[in-house]
Amino acid sequence: MNFLEQALSFIFTAANWVGPAGLGARIAEHLQYTFIAVVFSVLIAVPIGMLIGHTGRGTFLVVTGVNALRALPTLGVLLLGVLLWGLGLVPPTVALMLLGIPPLLAGTYSGIANVDRAVVDAARSMGMTEARIMLRVETPNALPLILGGLRTATLQIIATATVAAYASLGGLGRYLIDGIKMRQFHIALVGALMVTALALILDAAMAFAVWASMPGSGRLRKFGRMPQPLLDDEIALESGSVGASQRGSRSTSRSSLKARHERGDPSPTVEG
Protein backbone atom coordinates (compact mmCIF):
# COMPACT_ATOMS: atom_id res chain seq x y z
CA MET A 1 0.00 0.00 0.00
CA ASN A 2 3.04 2.19 0.32
CA PHE A 3 3.21 2.65 -3.47
CA LEU A 4 -0.42 3.68 -3.51
CA GLU A 5 0.15 6.37 -0.89
CA GLN A 6 3.15 7.69 -2.79
CA ALA A 7 1.19 7.68 -6.04
CA LEU A 8 -1.77 9.48 -4.49
CA SER A 9 0.43 12.11 -2.92
CA PHE A 10 2.04 12.60 -6.35
CA ILE A 11 -1.37 13.10 -7.94
CA PHE A 12 -2.55 15.47 -5.24
CA THR A 13 0.52 17.67 -5.43
CA ALA A 14 -0.37 20.73 -7.48
CA ALA A 15 3.19 21.15 -8.79
CA ASN A 16 2.92 17.86 -10.67
CA TRP A 17 -0.02 19.12 -12.72
CA VAL A 18 1.58 22.07 -14.48
CA GLY A 19 4.32 22.41 -17.09
CA PRO A 20 4.93 20.65 -20.42
CA ALA A 21 5.48 17.29 -18.69
CA GLY A 22 2.86 17.79 -15.99
CA LEU A 23 -0.23 15.67 -15.44
CA GLY A 24 -2.44 18.27 -17.13
CA ALA A 25 -0.37 18.28 -20.32
CA ARG A 26 -0.14 14.48 -20.33
CA ILE A 27 -3.90 14.12 -19.98
CA ALA A 28 -4.39 16.60 -22.83
CA GLU A 29 -1.99 14.61 -25.03
CA HIS A 30 -3.69 11.36 -24.11
CA LEU A 31 -7.10 12.77 -24.98
CA GLN A 32 -5.69 14.20 -28.20
CA TYR A 33 -4.42 10.80 -29.39
CA THR A 34 -7.69 9.22 -28.37
CA PHE A 35 -9.82 11.86 -30.06
CA ILE A 36 -7.94 11.80 -33.38
CA ALA A 37 -7.98 8.00 -33.52
CA VAL A 38 -11.69 7.84 -32.65
CA VAL A 39 -12.61 10.47 -35.26
CA PHE A 40 -10.74 8.68 -38.04
CA SER A 41 -12.18 5.32 -36.98
CA VAL A 42 -15.68 6.81 -37.15
CA LEU A 43 -15.01 8.36 -40.55
CA ILE A 44 -13.96 4.99 -41.94
CA ALA A 45 -16.12 2.51 -40.08
CA VAL A 46 -19.51 4.24 -39.88
CA PRO A 47 -20.09 4.93 -43.62
CA ILE A 48 -18.91 1.43 -44.56
CA GLY A 49 -21.04 -0.15 -41.86
CA MET A 50 -24.07 1.88 -42.94
CA LEU A 51 -23.71 0.97 -46.62
CA ILE A 52 -23.22 -2.72 -45.91
CA GLY A 53 -25.99 -2.78 -43.33
CA HIS A 54 -28.39 -0.99 -45.68
CA THR A 55 -27.70 -3.00 -48.81
CA GLY A 56 -26.99 -6.32 -47.11
CA ARG A 57 -24.12 -6.70 -49.57
CA GLY A 58 -20.62 -7.45 -48.32
CA THR A 59 -21.69 -8.85 -44.95
CA PHE A 60 -18.87 -11.32 -45.34
CA LEU A 61 -16.50 -8.33 -45.58
CA VAL A 62 -17.62 -7.03 -42.18
CA VAL A 63 -17.13 -10.35 -40.43
CA THR A 64 -13.73 -11.07 -41.98
CA GLY A 65 -12.55 -7.47 -41.73
CA VAL A 66 -13.51 -7.14 -38.09
CA ASN A 67 -11.77 -10.38 -37.15
CA ALA A 68 -8.65 -9.59 -39.15
CA LEU A 69 -8.30 -6.08 -37.72
CA ARG A 70 -8.79 -7.38 -34.19
CA ALA A 71 -6.06 -9.94 -34.76
CA LEU A 72 -3.50 -7.31 -35.83
CA PRO A 73 -1.36 -6.39 -32.82
CA THR A 74 -1.55 -2.67 -32.01
CA LEU A 75 1.94 -2.43 -30.57
CA GLY A 76 3.56 -4.07 -33.61
CA VAL A 77 1.78 -1.74 -36.01
CA LEU A 78 2.70 1.29 -33.88
CA LEU A 79 6.39 0.45 -33.67
CA LEU A 80 6.59 -0.53 -37.34
CA GLY A 81 4.87 2.75 -38.16
CA VAL A 82 7.45 4.69 -36.18
CA LEU A 83 10.31 2.93 -37.98
CA LEU A 84 8.71 3.55 -41.37
CA TRP A 85 7.22 7.04 -41.00
CA GLY A 86 9.21 8.38 -38.09
CA LEU A 87 7.82 9.90 -34.92
CA GLY A 88 4.66 11.92 -35.01
CA LEU A 89 0.93 11.52 -34.79
CA VAL A 90 0.53 9.17 -37.77
CA PRO A 91 1.84 5.91 -36.23
CA PRO A 92 -0.25 6.03 -33.03
CA THR A 93 -3.35 7.14 -34.93
CA VAL A 94 -3.09 4.27 -37.42
CA ALA A 95 -2.31 1.75 -34.68
CA LEU A 96 -5.17 2.91 -32.47
CA MET A 97 -7.59 2.91 -35.40
CA LEU A 98 -7.06 -0.85 -35.59
CA LEU A 99 -8.77 -1.01 -32.21
CA GLY A 100 -11.45 1.55 -33.00
CA ILE A 101 -12.68 0.34 -36.37
CA PRO A 102 -13.82 -3.23 -35.47
CA PRO A 103 -16.37 -2.33 -32.75
CA LEU A 104 -17.65 0.68 -34.71
CA LEU A 105 -18.01 -1.31 -37.91
CA ALA A 106 -19.73 -4.20 -36.15
CA GLY A 107 -22.02 -1.85 -34.19
CA THR A 108 -23.02 0.25 -37.20
CA TYR A 109 -23.54 -2.75 -39.42
CA SER A 110 -25.67 -4.71 -36.97
CA GLY A 111 -27.55 -1.58 -35.92
CA ILE A 112 -28.58 -0.74 -39.49
CA ALA A 113 -29.13 -4.36 -40.55
CA ASN A 114 -31.39 -5.04 -37.57
CA VAL A 115 -33.79 -2.15 -38.13
CA ASP A 116 -37.28 -3.58 -38.48
CA ARG A 117 -37.82 -4.29 -42.21
CA ALA A 118 -41.43 -3.12 -41.89
CA VAL A 119 -40.19 0.33 -40.85
CA VAL A 120 -37.79 0.52 -43.79
CA ASP A 121 -40.49 -0.65 -46.22
CA ALA A 122 -42.91 1.90 -44.82
CA ALA A 123 -40.35 4.65 -45.39
CA ARG A 124 -39.72 3.38 -48.92
CA SER A 125 -43.42 3.25 -49.75
CA MET A 126 -43.72 6.82 -48.53
CA GLY A 127 -41.33 7.70 -51.32
CA MET A 128 -38.14 8.32 -49.40
CA THR A 129 -34.97 7.82 -51.40
CA GLU A 130 -32.54 5.13 -50.28
CA ALA A 131 -30.04 7.68 -48.96
CA ARG A 132 -32.81 9.37 -47.04
CA ILE A 133 -34.03 6.08 -45.59
CA MET A 134 -30.51 5.35 -44.46
CA LEU A 135 -29.94 8.72 -42.83
CA ARG A 136 -33.39 9.58 -41.52
CA VAL A 137 -34.95 6.22 -40.69
CA GLU A 138 -32.28 3.59 -40.19
CA THR A 139 -29.62 5.72 -38.49
CA PRO A 140 -31.86 7.04 -35.68
CA ASN A 141 -33.11 3.51 -35.05
CA ALA A 142 -29.58 2.12 -35.09
CA LEU A 143 -28.16 4.90 -32.95
CA PRO A 144 -27.94 2.93 -29.66
CA LEU A 145 -25.89 0.20 -31.34
CA ILE A 146 -23.73 2.69 -33.25
CA LEU A 147 -23.03 4.63 -30.05
CA GLY A 148 -22.43 1.33 -28.26
CA GLY A 149 -19.75 0.61 -30.83
CA LEU A 150 -18.36 4.11 -30.37
CA ARG A 151 -18.24 3.51 -26.62
CA THR A 152 -16.28 0.27 -26.98
CA ALA A 153 -13.98 1.87 -29.54
CA THR A 154 -13.24 4.88 -27.33
CA LEU A 155 -12.64 2.67 -24.33
CA GLN A 156 -10.19 0.43 -26.17
CA ILE A 157 -8.38 3.38 -27.70
CA ILE A 158 -8.04 5.37 -24.48
CA ALA A 159 -6.77 2.29 -22.66
CA THR A 160 -4.22 1.45 -25.33
CA ALA A 161 -3.11 5.02 -26.09
CA THR A 162 -0.67 4.36 -23.24
CA VAL A 163 1.55 2.46 -25.69
CA ALA A 164 2.20 5.68 -27.63
CA ALA A 165 4.66 6.57 -24.88
CA TYR A 166 6.77 3.59 -25.82
CA ALA A 167 7.42 5.21 -29.19
CA SER A 168 8.80 8.34 -27.49
CA LEU A 169 5.45 10.09 -27.63
CA GLY A 170 3.58 11.70 -24.75
CA GLY A 171 0.35 10.81 -23.04
CA LEU A 172 -0.30 9.19 -19.71
CA GLY A 173 1.68 6.15 -20.83
CA ARG A 174 4.85 8.17 -20.10
CA TYR A 175 4.29 7.71 -16.36
CA LEU A 176 3.54 4.03 -16.77
CA ILE A 177 6.50 3.22 -18.98
CA ASP A 178 9.05 5.57 -17.42
CA GLY A 179 8.00 4.43 -13.97
CA ILE A 180 8.67 0.80 -14.82
CA LYS A 181 11.88 1.60 -16.67
CA MET A 182 13.25 3.57 -13.71
CA ARG A 183 11.88 1.06 -11.18
CA GLN A 184 9.81 3.81 -9.58
CA PHE A 185 6.61 1.89 -9.33
CA HIS A 186 4.67 4.69 -7.70
CA ILE A 187 5.13 6.73 -10.90
CA ALA A 188 3.88 3.80 -12.96
CA LEU A 189 0.94 3.61 -10.60
CA VAL A 190 0.17 7.29 -11.17
CA GLY A 191 -0.13 6.56 -14.90
CA ALA A 192 -2.27 3.48 -14.28
CA LEU A 193 -4.63 5.31 -11.92
CA MET A 194 -5.00 8.34 -14.21
CA VAL A 195 -5.72 6.21 -17.29
CA THR A 196 -8.27 4.20 -15.34
CA ALA A 197 -9.98 7.34 -14.07
CA LEU A 198 -10.04 8.86 -17.56
CA ALA A 199 -11.47 5.65 -19.04
CA LEU A 200 -14.15 5.37 -16.35
CA ILE A 201 -15.27 8.99 -16.79
CA LEU A 202 -15.45 8.78 -20.60
CA ASP A 203 -17.20 5.43 -20.43
CA ALA A 204 -19.84 6.78 -18.06
CA ALA A 205 -20.46 9.70 -20.42
CA MET A 206 -20.83 7.35 -23.37
CA ALA A 207 -23.12 5.02 -21.43
CA PHE A 208 -25.34 8.03 -20.85
CA ALA A 209 -25.29 8.84 -24.58
CA VAL A 210 -26.35 5.30 -25.45
CA TRP A 211 -29.15 5.49 -22.91
CA ALA A 212 -30.31 8.86 -24.23
CA SER A 213 -30.29 7.68 -27.85
CA MET A 214 -32.82 4.84 -27.39
CA PRO A 215 -35.30 5.43 -30.23
CA GLY A 216 -38.83 6.33 -29.24
CA SER A 217 -37.81 7.23 -25.72
CA GLY A 218 -37.75 10.94 -26.53
CA ARG A 219 -34.70 11.29 -24.30
CA LEU A 220 -32.76 13.23 -26.93
CA ARG A 221 -35.60 15.66 -27.57
CA LYS A 222 -34.81 17.48 -24.36
CA PHE A 223 -31.46 18.39 -25.85
CA GLY A 224 -33.07 19.94 -28.88
CA ARG A 225 -32.05 18.81 -32.33
CA MET A 226 -32.94 15.35 -33.56
CA PRO A 227 -33.39 13.95 -37.06
CA GLN A 228 -37.09 13.17 -36.63
CA PRO A 229 -38.35 16.69 -35.79
CA LEU A 230 -36.20 18.06 -38.61
CA LEU A 231 -37.92 15.75 -41.08
CA ASP A 232 -41.33 16.92 -39.91
CA ASP A 233 -40.29 20.52 -40.30
CA GLU A 234 -39.19 19.92 -43.86
CA ILE A 235 -42.41 18.19 -44.77
CA ALA A 236 -44.38 21.02 -43.28
CA LEU A 237 -42.29 23.56 -45.16
CA GLU A 238 -42.43 21.82 -48.50
CA SER A 239 -46.15 21.11 -48.37
CA GLY A 240 -46.72 24.75 -47.53
CA SER A 241 -49.76 23.95 -45.42
CA VAL A 242 -48.75 23.86 -41.81
CA GLY A 243 -52.34 23.74 -40.66
CA ALA A 244 -53.22 20.63 -42.68
CA SER A 245 -53.54 17.28 -40.98
CA GLN A 246 -50.39 15.17 -40.70
CA ARG A 247 -51.58 12.51 -43.14
CA GLY A 248 -52.68 15.06 -45.71
CA SER A 249 -49.49 17.07 -45.63
CA ARG A 250 -47.41 13.94 -46.05
CA SER A 251 -49.23 12.68 -49.13
CA THR A 252 -49.20 16.06 -50.87
CA SER A 253 -45.53 16.66 -50.20
CA ARG A 254 -44.42 13.20 -51.25
CA SER A 255 -43.90 13.80 -54.96
CA SER A 256 -42.08 17.09 -54.57
CA LEU A 257 -39.98 15.66 -51.74
CA LYS A 258 -39.02 12.66 -53.83
CA ALA A 259 -38.19 14.68 -56.93
CA ARG A 260 -36.13 17.15 -54.95
CA HIS A 261 -34.04 14.49 -53.33
CA GLU A 262 -33.69 12.33 -56.39
CA ARG A 263 -32.08 15.35 -57.97
CA GLY A 264 -30.20 16.56 -54.94
CA ASP A 265 -28.73 13.39 -53.54
CA PRO A 266 -25.95 11.37 -55.16
CA SER A 267 -26.42 7.69 -55.86
CA PRO A 268 -28.72 6.13 -53.27
CA THR A 269 -27.27 2.65 -53.71
CA VAL A 270 -23.73 1.35 -53.53
CA GLU A 271 -23.62 -0.21 -56.96
CA GLY A 272 -21.88 2.83 -58.48
Binding site: L75, A159, T162, A188, L189, T196, L200
Partner: protein, 217 residues
Protein backbone atom coordinates in the same frame (compact mmCIF):
# COMPACT_ATOMS: atom_id res chain seq x y z
CA UNK B 1 9.10 -12.84 -43.43
CA UNK B 2 12.62 -14.24 -43.72
CA UNK B 3 13.21 -13.25 -40.11
CA UNK B 4 10.29 -15.43 -39.09
CA UNK B 5 11.57 -18.39 -41.10
CA UNK B 6 15.10 -18.00 -39.76
CA UNK B 7 13.92 -17.87 -36.16
CA UNK B 8 11.26 -20.54 -36.11
CA UNK B 9 12.64 -22.06 -32.88
CA UNK B 10 12.40 -18.79 -30.96
CA UNK B 11 9.05 -18.09 -32.57
CA UNK B 12 7.74 -21.41 -31.33
CA UNK B 13 9.03 -20.87 -27.78
CA UNK B 14 7.52 -17.39 -27.68
CA UNK B 15 4.25 -18.69 -29.12
CA UNK B 16 3.99 -21.22 -26.31
CA UNK B 17 4.45 -18.46 -23.71
CA UNK B 18 2.02 -16.24 -25.59
CA UNK B 19 -0.64 -18.94 -25.72
CA UNK B 20 -0.14 -19.83 -22.07
CA UNK B 21 -0.59 -16.22 -21.03
CA UNK B 22 -3.61 -15.57 -23.20
CA UNK B 23 -5.55 -18.84 -23.17
CA UNK B 24 -5.30 -20.02 -19.54
CA UNK B 25 -7.32 -16.90 -18.60
CA UNK B 26 -9.95 -17.79 -21.21
CA UNK B 27 -10.44 -21.24 -19.65
CA UNK B 28 -10.43 -19.89 -16.08
CA UNK B 29 -12.77 -17.05 -17.03
CA UNK B 30 -15.19 -19.46 -18.66
CA UNK B 31 -15.19 -21.69 -15.57
CA UNK B 32 -15.97 -18.71 -13.34
CA UNK B 33 -18.38 -16.86 -15.61
CA UNK B 34 -20.70 -19.69 -16.67
CA UNK B 35 -21.96 -20.57 -13.15
CA UNK B 36 -22.23 -16.91 -12.14
CA UNK B 37 -23.94 -15.95 -15.38
CA UNK B 38 -26.38 -18.84 -15.12
CA UNK B 39 -27.19 -17.96 -11.50
CA UNK B 40 -27.86 -14.27 -12.08
CA UNK B 41 -29.72 -14.59 -15.38
CA UNK B 42 -33.18 -14.79 -13.79
CA UNK B 43 -32.67 -12.30 -10.95
CA UNK B 44 -32.91 -8.80 -12.39
CA UNK B 45 -31.25 -7.00 -9.48
CA UNK B 46 -28.29 -9.39 -9.25
CA UNK B 47 -27.90 -9.38 -13.00
CA UNK B 48 -27.75 -5.61 -13.15
CA UNK B 49 -25.22 -5.56 -10.31
CA UNK B 50 -23.05 -8.12 -12.12
CA UNK B 51 -23.29 -6.21 -15.38
CA UNK B 52 -22.28 -2.92 -13.78
CA UNK B 53 -19.39 -4.47 -11.84
CA UNK B 54 -18.22 -6.27 -14.95
CA UNK B 55 -18.32 -3.10 -17.06
CA UNK B 56 -16.26 -1.23 -14.48
CA UNK B 57 -13.66 -4.01 -14.33
CA UNK B 58 -13.57 -4.11 -18.12
CA UNK B 59 -12.98 -0.36 -18.26
CA UNK B 60 -9.69 -0.60 -16.35
CA UNK B 61 -6.95 -0.46 -19.00
CA UNK B 62 -4.97 -3.71 -19.22
CA UNK B 63 -1.55 -2.10 -18.91
CA UNK B 64 -2.77 -0.27 -15.83
CA UNK B 65 -4.11 -3.45 -14.30
CA UNK B 66 -0.80 -5.25 -14.86
CA UNK B 67 0.81 -2.53 -12.74
CA UNK B 68 -1.90 -2.14 -10.10
CA UNK B 69 -2.58 -5.82 -9.46
CA UNK B 70 0.62 -6.59 -7.50
CA UNK B 71 -0.56 -4.08 -4.91
CA UNK B 72 -3.73 -6.06 -4.31
CA UNK B 73 -2.54 -9.64 -4.60
CA UNK B 74 0.87 -11.00 -3.63
CA UNK B 75 2.39 -11.31 -7.09
CA UNK B 76 5.40 -9.54 -8.49
CA UNK B 77 4.85 -6.90 -11.15
CA UNK B 78 6.29 -8.85 -14.06
CA UNK B 79 5.18 -12.24 -12.85
CA UNK B 80 3.31 -14.50 -15.27
CA UNK B 81 0.72 -15.19 -12.57
CA UNK B 82 0.05 -11.47 -12.47
CA UNK B 83 -0.79 -11.38 -16.18
CA UNK B 84 -2.93 -14.49 -15.92
CA UNK B 85 -4.93 -13.08 -13.00
CA UNK B 86 -5.41 -9.76 -14.80
CA UNK B 87 -6.56 -11.35 -18.04
CA UNK B 88 -8.79 -13.79 -16.15
CA UNK B 89 -10.48 -10.76 -14.61
CA UNK B 90 -11.15 -9.29 -18.08
CA UNK B 91 -12.32 -12.57 -19.51
CA UNK B 92 -14.68 -13.10 -16.60
CA UNK B 93 -15.93 -9.52 -16.85
CA UNK B 94 -16.76 -9.95 -20.51
CA UNK B 95 -18.21 -13.45 -20.26
CA UNK B 96 -20.30 -12.77 -17.18
CA UNK B 97 -22.27 -10.34 -19.32
CA UNK B 98 -22.32 -12.65 -22.33
CA UNK B 99 -23.53 -15.78 -20.52
CA UNK B 100 -26.93 -14.37 -19.44
CA UNK B 101 -27.38 -12.88 -22.91
CA UNK B 102 -26.58 -16.24 -24.47
CA UNK B 103 -29.10 -17.90 -22.14
CA UNK B 104 -31.70 -15.28 -23.10
CA UNK B 105 -31.35 -16.51 -26.67
CA UNK B 106 -32.77 -19.92 -25.66
CA UNK B 107 -36.41 -19.93 -26.87
CA UNK B 108 -38.92 -19.88 -24.03
CA UNK B 109 -41.08 -22.74 -25.47
CA UNK B 110 -38.01 -25.00 -25.48
CA UNK B 111 -37.38 -24.21 -21.82
CA UNK B 112 -41.03 -24.84 -20.98
CA UNK B 113 -41.03 -28.09 -22.91
CA UNK B 114 -37.96 -29.27 -21.02
CA UNK B 115 -39.63 -28.44 -17.71
CA UNK B 116 -42.83 -30.15 -18.85
CA UNK B 117 -41.10 -33.44 -19.61
CA UNK B 118 -39.64 -33.43 -16.12
CA UNK B 119 -36.21 -31.76 -16.17
CA UNK B 120 -35.10 -30.42 -12.79
CA UNK B 121 -33.73 -26.85 -12.94
CA UNK B 122 -30.07 -27.90 -12.73
CA UNK B 123 -30.26 -30.69 -15.30
CA UNK B 124 -32.31 -28.47 -17.57
CA UNK B 125 -29.61 -25.79 -17.34
CA UNK B 126 -26.85 -28.29 -18.12
CA UNK B 127 -28.59 -30.35 -20.77
CA UNK B 128 -30.93 -27.88 -22.47
CA UNK B 129 -30.16 -24.21 -21.76
CA UNK B 130 -26.37 -24.19 -21.89
CA UNK B 131 -26.02 -26.31 -25.06
CA UNK B 132 -28.52 -24.06 -26.83
CA UNK B 133 -26.59 -21.00 -25.64
CA UNK B 134 -23.35 -22.23 -27.22
CA UNK B 135 -23.59 -20.30 -30.52
CA UNK B 136 -23.92 -16.91 -28.78
CA UNK B 137 -21.32 -17.89 -26.19
CA UNK B 138 -18.82 -18.96 -28.84
CA UNK B 139 -19.09 -15.55 -30.47
CA UNK B 140 -18.00 -13.87 -27.21
CA UNK B 141 -15.31 -16.47 -26.59
CA UNK B 142 -13.74 -15.71 -29.95
CA UNK B 143 -13.63 -12.01 -29.17
CA UNK B 144 -12.13 -12.69 -25.73
CA UNK B 145 -9.45 -15.03 -27.06
CA UNK B 146 -8.35 -12.65 -29.81
CA UNK B 147 -8.42 -9.67 -27.43
CA UNK B 148 -6.28 -11.55 -24.90
CA UNK B 149 -3.72 -12.46 -27.54
CA UNK B 150 -3.47 -8.79 -28.46
CA UNK B 151 -3.30 -7.67 -24.80
CA UNK B 152 -0.40 -10.01 -24.07
CA UNK B 153 1.51 -8.51 -26.98
CA UNK B 154 0.92 -4.99 -25.61
CA UNK B 155 2.22 -6.22 -22.26
CA UNK B 156 5.71 -6.52 -23.71
CA UNK B 157 6.22 -2.77 -23.20
CA UNK B 158 6.32 -3.43 -19.47
CA UNK B 159 8.42 -6.56 -19.88
CA UNK B 160 5.88 -9.34 -20.23
CA UNK B 161 7.06 -12.24 -22.38
CA UNK B 162 5.49 -13.67 -25.51
CA UNK B 163 5.67 -12.75 -29.17
CA UNK B 164 5.33 -9.08 -28.27
CA UNK B 165 8.99 -9.09 -27.22
CA UNK B 166 9.84 -9.12 -30.94
CA UNK B 167 8.21 -5.71 -31.20
CA UNK B 168 10.19 -4.17 -28.37
CA UNK B 169 13.45 -5.87 -29.44
CA UNK B 170 12.95 -4.98 -33.08
CA UNK B 171 12.13 -1.39 -32.19
CA UNK B 172 15.16 -0.98 -29.97
CA UNK B 173 17.54 -2.45 -32.54
CA UNK B 174 15.76 -0.69 -35.43
CA UNK B 175 14.92 -3.95 -37.20
CA UNK B 176 11.60 -3.54 -38.96
CA UNK B 177 11.71 -7.12 -40.31
CA UNK B 178 11.61 -8.43 -36.74
CA UNK B 179 8.53 -6.30 -36.03
CA UNK B 180 6.88 -7.47 -39.25
CA UNK B 181 7.68 -11.07 -38.25
CA UNK B 182 6.02 -10.44 -34.89
CA UNK B 183 2.94 -8.93 -36.51
CA UNK B 184 2.63 -11.90 -38.86
CA UNK B 185 3.15 -14.44 -36.06
CA UNK B 186 0.55 -12.83 -33.76
CA UNK B 187 -1.90 -12.30 -36.61
CA UNK B 188 -1.67 -15.94 -37.66
CA UNK B 189 -1.89 -17.08 -34.04
CA UNK B 190 -5.04 -15.02 -33.45
CA UNK B 191 -6.70 -16.20 -36.66
CA UNK B 192 -5.85 -19.84 -35.90
CA UNK B 193 -7.22 -19.68 -32.35
CA UNK B 194 -10.30 -17.80 -33.57
CA UNK B 195 -10.97 -20.45 -36.22
CA UNK B 196 -10.37 -23.31 -33.77
CA UNK B 197 -12.92 -21.90 -31.30
CA UNK B 198 -15.40 -21.38 -34.14
CA UNK B 199 -14.94 -24.96 -35.33
CA UNK B 200 -15.22 -26.30 -31.77
CA UNK B 201 -18.48 -24.40 -31.38
CA UNK B 202 -19.80 -25.86 -34.63
CA UNK B 203 -18.77 -29.37 -33.58
CA UNK B 204 -20.62 -28.93 -30.28
CA UNK B 205 -23.86 -27.83 -31.94
CA UNK B 206 -24.58 -30.46 -34.61
CA UNK B 207 -28.28 -29.53 -34.58
CA UNK B 208 -27.48 -26.06 -35.93
CA UNK B 209 -25.78 -27.62 -38.95
CA UNK B 210 -28.73 -29.95 -39.51
CA UNK B 211 -31.07 -26.98 -39.40
CA UNK B 212 -29.01 -25.05 -41.93
CA UNK B 213 -29.04 -27.91 -44.44
CA UNK B 214 -32.77 -28.20 -43.85
CA UNK B 215 -33.28 -24.52 -44.57
CA UNK B 216 -31.11 -24.67 -47.65
CA UNK B 217 -33.03 -27.62 -49.05
Amino acid sequence: MTYLLNNLDTAWALTVIHLRLSLIPVVLGLLIAVPIGALVQRTTALRRLTTVTASIVFTIPSLALFVVLPLIIPTRILDEANVIVALTLYTTALLVRAVPEALDAVPEPVRDAATAIGYRPLTRMLKVDLPLAIPVLVASLRVVAVTNISMVSVGSVIGIGGLGTWFTEGYQSNKSDQIVAGIIAIFVLAIVIDTLIMLAGKAMTPWARAQRTLEAA
